[in-house]
Subunit: 218 residues, 2 copies
């Protein structure tokens, strides 16, 4: 149906779309895929012709419904295989990504249905990420606002409540991104601002910011 390369681009755009209200930029895709911007442009044209993305020169891309469905299917396959590798073959959670990157391109709908059944219809992969169902909908996960954590608690950033570009730019500037681990170090009583640790860096953020950041608690 689609080449491995096309599928990888769709997946990348899908993931990037969640963090940018606007279209996804060529450079962002290039960085994500470890390719050059010119290669991305070529592929975007191809995907646009196949009606998988909405592409306007110099304006970035968004996925069409068809593109989203296709991307969700690949992510579904990837995450189901990850469950298989960990649950059945006894891999540890940090070893499975590369192998699942290959397995996700195996083409057979029946295979995926049977695998899903074999694994007893899991809803989340070994990293806690949701496994989309056949129709492309993602199950909800228990996520907490950063502002609801207590001092000493930590979690992994899994999303934002406010998706305004100014907010996202602020996050970018401070190295906060999806998948980043955030720990609450201390809290100011006066204005409820938080001292947090992202990676090795320490920041102070306002309550407003903290109440717009979703974490997966661990």
């Amino acid at each position: 149906m689609f080449s491995d390369s096309e599928e990888n681009y769709l997946k990348a755009i899908f993931h990037l779309e969640r963090f940018s209200k606007e279209g996804v930029s060529t450079n962002a895709i290039a960085e994500q895929m470890h390719t050059k911007a010119s290669s991305v442009t070529d592929m975007l044209k191809k995907l646009a012709e196949k009606k998988l993305v909405n592409y306007v020169k110099y304006q970035g891309v968004t996925l069409t419904n068809e593109g989203k469905k296709t991307a969700a299917k690949i992510i579904r396959k990837h995450r189901l295989w990850e469950v298989f590798l960990v649950e059945k073959l006894d891999f540890s959670w940090d070893e499975v990504h590369e192998i699942a990157e290959q397995l996700e391109h195996i083409e057979s709908d029946v295979l995926i249905e049977k695998l899903d059944r074999h694994l007893d219809f899991p809803k989340f992969d070994p990293h806690g990420d949701p496994i989309p169902s056949n129709d492309g909908t993602f199950p909800e996960r228990d996520k907490v606002l950063l502002s609801d954590l207590s001092i000493g608690e930590s979690g992994v950033c899994v999303g934002v409540k406010d998706t305004s570009s100014s907010f996202l730019k602020f996050l970018d500037k401070n190295g906060i991104a999806l998948g980043k681990k955030i720990k609450v170090i201390d809290q100011e009583e006066f204005d409820n601002s938080l001292h947090i640790q992202v990676g090795k860096e320490l920041f102070t953020i306002s309550h407003i910011i903290a109440s717009n950041l979703y974490l997966k608690s661990n």
Copy 2:
């Protein structure tokens, strides 16, 4: 390490080598792979440079030891995946080939070892074909063609010579599967067709059928 295409050529040459004492001809490979002779020539040059085949213009090819080892590894992966599909995912034996053709190219030695363990180190695939071990050696099994049995003799079905889906479907339809006990009741002198007993059922099968069914004699 090697591209999917290179691996497929090695596999094809490996299988063809068993039937020809001489080198395998370009045309034979082309037919097996459903490509054109000119494409084969291109690939043979590439494989020769990588020391996987001994290639002399106009003389056909043979696999080097390295080539044999590589081919055996791919066949090992293919057959282990077939066992997985049938034993764990509940596929029937005529549905697994195409999927295994894709899975055999997944690259990860650890994966295959873990899969092997998960399947409890099987020695034969669902069609009764031997699964080469890590070092490339094939396990032997004393098996006889059903057509070589005499009247009154019986055996357990352990494999098929023809693995075409039409043949496998025929077998399914008549309740013949791996592990089934088959007994020769009588034989027609005119066309060598056999009257056999499978379980409690009686059938008549042609000589062609009988000469494509392997039994383990007992």
